[in-house]
Every structure is written in C-alpha cells, then in structure tokens.
Amino acid sequence: MSAPTTEEELSKAVAAADGALRIVGGGTRPIGRTGAGTRLSAAGLTGITLYEPGAMTLVCRAGTPVSEIEAALAEENQQLAFEPMDHRALLGTKGVPTIGGVVAANVSGPRRIQVGACRDHLLGVRFVDGSGQIVSNGGRVMKNVTGYDLVKLMAGSRGTLGILTEVSLKVMPKAPSRATLRLTGLDDAQGLAAMTLAMRSPFDVNGAARVGGDVFVRIEGFDQSVAYRAERLSAELTDNGSVEVVRDEAAQSEIWTGIRDVTALKNHNYVWRVAMTPSRLRLGLLDGVLHGLAFDSVIDWAGAQIWIGLTKGQLSLVDRGAAGFHAMLQNTLADPTVTGRAGGHATLIKAPEAFRADVASFQPEPAPLAAIAAGLRAKFDPRGILNPGLMT
C-alpha cells in the first residue's frame, strides 16, 4: 500500500512500480474486476486549490472528499450540478468518496438529462500516466478546444490510462426553489410515456425517474418560475395517473437522494446499469427480454438509464442464474434488432467479488473499438500496470 500526498510522490511511486497497481481513491466504488496488484491510493492528494464562484470554476486535488467540495460550494450557493451518486448505500461500502473517484468513473446523477454528465463539467485534468509521466490537459476555463480533449478520455477511464492528481470543474448555481411532481398508478410503459412527455415540454425538467411504482419529475429555478412550470406540467400530465406536487424540501431531498444513490436496490445482491434510448428500453427490454422475469428496477434519466436489481431469490428463477442473466443482458444490448442504431450497453455494478472476477463487467465493444481502446492503453500505460483488466 502506497499513499503519496503529492503529485511528485505519486509520479515516483508509479515510475518505481515493478508490477500491477490497483488504483483507489476512497474505495467506495468497487466496480469491475479487482485484479491483483499493489494498492496505490490517491486519497492523500487533498485540498481545493482554487475556487472562483464568479467564474463558476473549482480546482482541487483528486483525493479531495466530495463532501468537502460540496460544503465549500454550498457556502456560495453553488453545486456540482451533475449530482454525483454516492455508491456507498447501494454497494454497502465504507470510506470517503473522493472527487477523483467520481471523475474516474464519470459518475452522474439525475440532473444529467439537463446539465450533462460529470465529463461535461470537467474542464481540466492533471494525471500521472503508466510511466510516471505527469500530463496536463484542458484547463480551468469554460470553453477550451486547444489540442485533443484528453479530459473526456480521462473521465470514466477508471485509472486505466493514468492516475488523476488534480481536476478542474465547472460548478453551477444552486436553484433557490424546486418542485417534484409525483405521478402514481402507472405501469412501466405508462411511466416511460409520462417521462417522455415531460421531457418534450419546454419546462426545463431536470429530473425524471421511476422508482417503487411512482414517477418523479423535478423542476428547479426561481420561485415564480417553478410554480408556473409545476402548474403547467401537472396540467399536461393529468392523463398520466394522479399527479401530486411535492414542495416540502426534506421530502424532495429524500426522493432525489434515493434516486441518485439507487437506494431502492441496496438489498439486492446483483445490480446492473443499462444505458439505452428510452423508446428502445420499453420495446427491447421491458416488453422484450425482461418480460415475465422477476426483478426490481430504478429508471432514471427519463428512461435513458435503468438500474436492474435481482435478489438471490429472484435469480434462482433465472436460467443459469447471475451468469446467465449477465450474458443475456449484454447480448441483448449488443443486438441491433433490440437497440436499433442507437445502441446501448449494460454494466455489472454490484455482485460478489468472486463473480466479478469471472465476467466482463463492462459491455464488450466491437473489435475495431476494442482495438482502439487497447491501443490507447498501450500508449498511456506501456507496462500494463494501471488497474490491468479492470475494464476488459
């Protein structure tokens, strides 16, 4: 276990490594194959180095706890608008989530449908590549097309191309007011239809999810605007079950934190995350291969993301159990007759470590893309020591 506290120390530790490294931040998101290797933590690189509320930018070291960043932003009434999920409840992990972990996994919450993902809020990165070389890309300004966008490449690369040491983020104002429409009495298809209708409206919906049989639609902004849009949207959705407008702040906070953290599936032994288009989710998945199976789900991003959870009991009814379900999901997502040209992918998020060691948690990519990814890894990490096998 190595725990450097500066970029230079981290760089030296990587350069000196003589075998595989297992890179961790707070260690709260054990997703993918946990290979052998020396644990190298970036959690010792902490601290906000620059925060300019008037320029909507924050720069911090990668090991900075997310909670510390959120507290600093809250003082200026700002936030990480992409609403990063805290995986601890779902995965039953302990520890302190770091911003580097959020970025490395490109973690984005319900507001992703309006403001974009973590990668869309990432303005710059510094990282140490597999040779120990320190590399900087992007910067701290909102618009930057100078050179290739390695910032996007690093977001979601899960420590396999380099170890993040510093990230620069776009931060946004917190809305002073919000309202949540709760729609009850809808089945999955009706729920998806209601969310689609809400997203097609001009009312700037920034959360649309289905959990526990209800649909939740969120609106944020200034007071009068929120009241106006909540009223208009309620009227447009009256044909979609019964509509209740939740204005109580604590109740809304509970609803959206629950959706963000997928707490509804925390007691499920196996959880998958599927990304595809809302229309194909209904046709290809819910009315298709999942039809008739026992499972639980949280649908977010207005139907562009579904979390599927199975308990051991539910899996006992599935052909070949968890392995069979995993293969069925990924095969389905790779089938163009199901996903159309829009495509999609399934990722195993939660499973016992022994199971994760045996399967590809991430959707296998078509050969030409897999070759590009392998080529990039070989360039950024020629010795193949950074989280080897984690994403493949």
Binding site: E76, V135, G139, V141, L161, P173
Partner: protein
C-alpha cells in the same frame, strides 16, 4: 505560416491517383483540374492558401471508406473538409494532399422526438439541423456564428461553440454518437443514442480532434424542446471593468442566462455605423438573453436589472417587442461583417477566466498601442471566450506579420492569466506554433500518442494542431 514541403513523389503520381479515385467515385466527385481545385485552396482563414492535389466529394460512408483506403495504401495525406468555414486553417490543404469534402453527405437519417435525437450525415449545415426539427418545436443548441454555412462535420472536428453555449454547452456536450471512417478505411460506430460511453470515452476524444483521427460521416445529436420565449436586454457601461464586474455578479447571483455578449467601444461604433441598431456609444456594452415564459423572463430580468443598476449603467434597455429584440441582436450578429467592411481583420479566440476580463482588456489596449494596430473586442463574456479583432491592411507590406505577432502576444496573455489559446475555433495552423505556450512537451506527447493509435501513418490532416518540429518525426515515418 510554414507548411511542410509537399512530397513531390506524390504530386508526380497525381494522374494515377485520380484514376484510382475515379474507380470508386462518379466522375463529378473527383476534382482535379487546376482551375477547379483552386476552390479548395483555403478556408475561412483566407490569408493562407494552397491548391490541393485534388478534391473528392463522396456521397456515402462507403465512398469515404473507399477513398481513404486508397490514400492509406498510397501514403497520401488527406485533409477533411466540412464547409470550409474554419477560421483556424483546419481545412487548408498542402499541394500533396487530397481534400475530402463531405458536402454531399447532407441527409437527415432519423429523427426521434421521444428520445430527443436526430441523426444526420455530417455534411449537413448546422442551421439546417435545427431547420429539420423546428416545426415540431425542437432545436439543435450549438450555434456558431457561421451556422448558416458550417457543416456538422466541421463542428465536430473543432468542437464548435456559439453564443448560446453558456446554458446549452458546446458540440461535445450535444453529441451522442458518430459513424467514423478510420484512415485505413475501417468504418466504426462510436456512441449511439445513449448518454454515456460503455468503456473509454472515445466520442469525447474524437470531438475536437480537428479531423486528425478519422472522418466523421454521420452524427447523432441531442435536440431540445424550444423554450417558450427568449428576450435580450442591452446594458451600456462607461468602463470595461464595470461591465466585467457586472457579468461576474450576474453569474454569482445564480441567474444563468443563455447568453452574455460583450462589445467594446470600437466594436460598438463600427457595428452601429453598419447596422444602425441604436446602440449607445459607450465604453462597453452587454447583451444578456434569458429564456422561458413571459413571467419567467420577467422574473430573471428583474434580478439582472437590479444587479446592473448597482453598476451605474449608462443605458439599460429591455426589448419590449420581437422587433426590438431583433435590433439588439442585429448589431452583435453583424459585428464580424461590419469589421470586414472597414478593414482586413484577424479574429482571435482565446478564453480567459471571467474575473481576469478587466485586466486582459486593459493589457490588450496597451499591446494594441505598442504594435500600432487597432483591436476591437466582441465576445462571449459569460464563459470568458474572447474574440479580439485585430484590424490591419493586407496591402500594406508588413502589416499581416505585425498583426500575427500582436495576435500571438494576446493569446500568450490569455494563457498567462489561466486561460487557453482557443475557445471554439480550434488550433488548425493558426495557433499550431503557439501550443508550446500552453502545453509541456509531455502534454503534447500524450496528445500525439492518441493520433498514433488512430492514424499510425499520420496521413490525416497531418501538419495541423502540433508544432511542426514536434510532429516532424511522426509525419516523416
């Protein structure tokens, strides 16, 4: 502007190459007569030009693949071209290069309002993407000034922005998937209609790679429901510092307008002369636009006006009618054209942290005096993306060179204060030799390794983005 010496062996094989292209393309899609190739000698950075070896205009992904395979086999450099509106020389050829234009790929392939996506061929113009969906109440958000002419292919290559990206983001934030042809002719699908990458974010890498990683032939874009309405407000201030402080206060107050545009005195005067938009003649002018229903617009504008008033504006004019709104935007939108009427100009594109605005404007003023060339400033203030316009006369010997030197100084200044060389136009050839100001050799090496993976022979748009000395070994290999 230095370009590598053309490969004379390739030029000598021109007839043979043209004949190979004619095997896979219709006759009218292969342009090789010197009188006709001249049309492809430059892009929007017209000060630099060079006719290509020839130009090809494929009409399908398969034709693009066939052309690239030939060029790959023959070791011929390829310069992809959208509509040729690049202000950075991104589509400027060399004498030994084939221009691959995607202008004939302009169909809409699919629109899906339930999923809020549109899939188009990449030669389609930016504005006509919105044109395809606006009757149904949707629009495509990125809006570069050249949107009437510029192609989605070029938008993706340069990761183009626009005036309204403060709220909606730039191209990369609105791009969901591409069909791309690799240099060796392999066709790949990256992304699709879904919202994040299954593995590495290759889509994010391709967007903004200036046509150096592959040729995008189709793109799936995010479309958005049109807001109920929009209204601009115009504010005049007696100093740029005060206008800059006002921008910062608006953002801090939690109002997020869709656009905040800034013009300085020189631009105001020139635009007013040209467009007669009724602008107040003052040191700095802001145009702030907000969206929503009338009630929502009123609510936001009240807050903005209250903030503006604390900065003692010399003018505060809210559009009461669509006509007045049009007038407020008219001057700003004609800024580049108006400047072009009075002079040749070079348009820069650096971005700076918003709070550095007053300092940078003052420094630009000093540099302008030092170099003896006027500089007008018109830019997207909300995100710090500046467009200093350096006025010069191309017919006066030495002025272009002085202008370039001043431009380089201003861009270095942007980097010094924590910003970057280019916010939305791209590096191309224009900023290529300044890359060392912003990046260390290791930073540039990391980027060039990406090109090594996608285009090992360095045939796609090879002499762009990276300083020639840095890329020389790779290009020669």
């Amino acid at each position: 502007m230095q370009m590598p010496a053309p490969n004379t062996a390739i030029i000598a094989r021109k007839a043979q190459l043209v004949s190979r292209f004619l095997d896979v393309l219709p006759k009218d899609a292969v342009i090789h007569e010197p009188a006709e190739t001249k049309a492809y000698e430059c892009d929007g950075l017209a000060a630099y030009h060079c006719p290509p070896l020839c130009a090809v205009l494929p009409s399908s992904t398969e034709e693009v693949a066939a052309v690239l395979k030939i060029c790959h086999d023959e070791g011929v450099p390829v310069v992809p071209r959208g509509s040729g509106t690049s202000l950075a020389g991104g589509a400027m050829p060399t004498a030994d290069a084939v221009i691959l234009g995607v202008a004939r790929l302009n169909d809409v392939l699919d629109t899906n309002y339930d999923d809020r996506t549109i899939t188009v061929q990449s030669g389609r113009t930016n504005l006509s993407v919105t044109g395809a969906v606006e009757e149904d109440g949707f629009f495509y958000a990125p809006d570069p000034s050249s949107q009437l002419a510029c192609a989605i292919a070029g938008n993706i290559a340069m990761n183009s922005g626009g005036a309204h990206c403060l709220k909606y983001g730039v191209t990369t934030n609105n791009l969901l998937g591409v069909t791309m042809v690799m240099m060796d002719g392999t066709v790949v699908q990256i992304g699709g209609g879904y919202m994040d990458a299954p593995g590495l974010d290759l889509l994010g890498l391709v967007c903004g790679s200036e046509g150096q990683l592959g040729v995008v032939t189709e793109a799936t874009l995010r479309i958005l429901p049109k807001p109920e309405g929009a209204r601009p407000i115009l504010m005049g201030f007696d100093s740029s510092e005060v206008a800059g402080a006002c921008v910062s206060d608006i953002i801090k107050a939690g109002v997020l307008p869709v656009a905040i545009e800034f013009m300085d005195r020189l631009c105001i005067e020139v635009c007013e002369n040209f467009a007669k938009a009724g602008y107040p003649i003052c040191e700095a002018l802001l145009i702030v636009e907000v969206e929503g229903s009338d009630l929502e617009i009123d609510e936001q504008l009240e807050k903005i006006k209250a903030i503006a008033k604390t900065h003692n504006p010399v003018e505060l004019r809210e559009a009461q009618t669509a006509e007045e709104a049009g007038l407020i935007w008219l001057g700003r939108k004609s800024a580049f054209g108006a400047m072009g009427q009075i002079n040749d100009y070079m348009c820069l594109d650096g971005t700076i942290p918003v709070n550095q605005l007053p300092f940078v404007l003052r420094r630009i003023g000093e540099l302008s005096k030092e170099y003896g060339l006027d500089v007008g400033n018109v830019f997207h203030a909300g995100d710090g993306n500046m467009h200093p316009l350096i006025l010069f006369d191309v017919n006066v010997p030495g002025q272009l060179e002085t202008c370039e030197a001043l431009g380089a100084e201003i861009l270095k200044l942007c980097v010094e204060v924590g910003g970057c060389l280019t916010g939305e136009h791209g590096v191309g050839i224009e900023k290529r030799d300044l890359m060392g100001e912003q990046f260390t050799p290791a930073d540039l090496e990391a980027q060039m390794r990406v090109k090594d993976v996608f285009d090992p022979k360095w045939l796609l748009n090879p002499a762009k983005v990276f300083p020639l000395a840095d890329s020389e070994e790779r290009r020669a290999a």
